[in-house]
Symmetry: C2
Subunit: 355 residues, 2 copies
DNA sequence: CTGTTAGCGCATTCAA
DNA sequence: TTGAATGCGCTAACAG
């Protein structure tokens, strides 16, 4: 029904093997026959049968990218960057090989769906799998993911982690969440803030934990880590979204009216924090300073511009893509850290009392 | 190397065919043998070879979802909804069949990449393809997409359109962009506004055109469509993002200081509009009313809450997913329209002069 | 209800 | 440089 290799071969008056060689390009073929084959491919509008080719070659051109929340630009940027590394020859004519298909799978943060997708990709004999964003720390799930990963790795699928702690059998790009968070809080301390609220993400995520640890490390180093200072009490957990930031802010203000700064676990939360503060008649940064994390595109042009910690998400995603394709040598030890950078902007200033 | 059907068959002391039947589930098998097979599958941790099964069955369990911008929640919501329709049995044990793999492909709004992905999915013999969001109206490209679509359809791949104009060989869910936009502008007119700016999306997109037409239809019906009224002059095109809304607003204010309302082509743009107005010292809605389109989650809790037109994106995406799986009968004529609903909220009010 | 028999379309030996 | 032959792992008739 569909046109096959044999059809092309017949039209080009060569064998199927020759057509295959022309299309895969990794084998010497006479220029004249190559041209003839290519013309036949065009005329017939031949498109390789992926499954057949994957079966014969025991590997497919699928690359899976797992994300926690597809509606979050954090993941959109990373996933987009991974995809952008795939098409070596964008706009290549139909039927040509070598182009990988990077597909995004949205787990919604659910461990079950994460494993499910891993199985689905294993079934497809994916060339690579990229796991992005924080991991869920439940022991059973971590073990299950690790097991899946080594199974995938042992069957030839490259496994790349981007933004989560390393595991065996995977190349990892970790994010400097802890260091970035620490520098951010230090920035606020330097400005003179002492009563700093923290809006954290979901408790069981590695990203959440690392950023919170960085924050607390800075507080402790400043002698503000004790129970009496209420670091615990001034931490509220929520989701990585705007409304969590909004609600958490109201809760923080309830717990301590005299807060002078609020640190959010990411920029999206920070937006909600800003909205809540404004609704309460508080000015940023005059009454309360606000800081985020990630430096998503909207953060720089928010009003006021948001102080945050920049993670080079696009670069990280692109590198993860190259790693997934084996186009870039693995870092020593299979783990590389992506550095973060403090972006001090208008949403943070010295506290009112210190002025 | 990897464990195959034959291995499972040997262990369960049945034929390969029986194992296949147990796994696909669409054929009667004795309960006792079924149990034996399932146990063997578990013990061996067998996972079906997707390519092989796709080759033999001449159809795969891949479903492609094409989006224009993965970082935009508009697409995130639709794509997520499509995916949520796929896994009938979430958490199914490894190796079980029937689960489709919905994968998201980000075209970035580029016609070339759109065609590229279509080819890639055709190569994979995808079970279905869902094209979401506005289409690029360039004639060559429309013809190319239509050609690809019928080619896909004729080789058994279902083609579903969600949010763009119908084409042959595809089931289509169109959005009521025109009607919604018209009702939105009518709402402003009713409030008493006459000088209304419009921030449109990219000119060559169907969504952009439809929404703009709706706006102008309302203006014309109110006798405000003439050249002298400057409807043309009060329209600025940009991208569907926040910074475009910001810049466009400054431009609109330059063209007419006495504007009393600005309609944005979507909510994200509207956010930028609000930011720009605030930066100019204008209050919303006291000085200028603002309206958006789509009713994304953040719009209801923006400050002030954004007047917009609600599109049931999740429902539409879910329906597109069912259509893609053939689990829902096609609408008459292959085309159904998704209704929109005006959400009048706090960001629009009568103009100052009319108070 | 279960086993046997053929391919599905392509990549890759091995010869020529 | 090219062709012929083989098998990847699975599904779908067809028997039994």
């Amino acid at each position: 029904m569909a046109v096959t290799l044999a059809d092309v071969a017949a039209r080009a008056r060569v064998s199927a093997a020759t057509v295959s060689r022309v299309l895969s390009g990794n084998y010497p073929v006479a220029e004249s026959t190559r041209a003839r084959v290519l013309r036949a491919v065009d005329e017939l509008e031949y498109v390789v049968n992926g499954p057949a080719s994957a079966l014969a070659a025991a590997t497919s051109d699928l690359v899976g990218v797992l994300v926690n929340d597809i509606a979050d630009p954090f993941f959109g940027i990373i996933a987009g960057a991974v995809q952008s590394e795939m098409g070596s020859a964008v706009g290549a004519e139909s039927g040509r090989h070598g182009e990988k298909l990077a597909v995004i799978c949205n787990t919604g943060g659910s461990p079950e769906r994460e494993l499910n997708y891993l199985t689905l990709l294993q079934r497809q004999r994916a060339a690579a799998v990229v796991l992005t964003g924080g991991a869920v720390e439940h022991p059973d799930h971590m073990a299950a993911v690790a097991a899946k990963a080594s199974r995938l790795a042992s069957s030839g699928t490259r496994v790349v982690l981007c933004g989560r702690p390393p595991i065996e059998d995977a190349v990892t790009l970790t994010f400097d969440n802890r260091g970035g968070a620490r520098r951010l809080t230090e920035h606020l301390l330097t400005l003179g803030h002492r009563r700093i609220g923290y809006v954290a993400g979901p408790a069981e995520r590695t990203t959440t934990r690392d950023r919170l640890e960085g924050h607390r490390a800075a507080m402790s180093a400043a002698g503000l880590g004790g129970l009496s200072e209420g670091v615990e009490r001034l931490t509220v957990h929520g989701l990585y979204d705007r409304s969590s930031g909004y609600d958490a802010t109201l809760e923080l203000l309830r717990r301590d009216e005299a807060l002078t700064a609020i640190v959010a676990a990411n920029d999206t939360i920070a937006l909600g924090v800003c909205a809540a503060l404004r609704d309460q008649g508080l000015r940023i940064p005059d009454d309360v300073s606000v800081a985020g994390f990630d430096d998503l595109p909207f953060s720089a042009d928010a009003v006021p511009a948001l102080t945050t910690v920049r993670l080079p998400l696009h670069e990280a995603g692109a590198r993860a893509g190259r790693l997934a394709l084996g186009r870039e040598p693995q870092p020593p030890g299979g783990v590389a850290m992506v550095r973060s950078e403090l972006m001090a902007r208008a949403s943070t200033a010295p506290p009112r009392a210190a002025k």
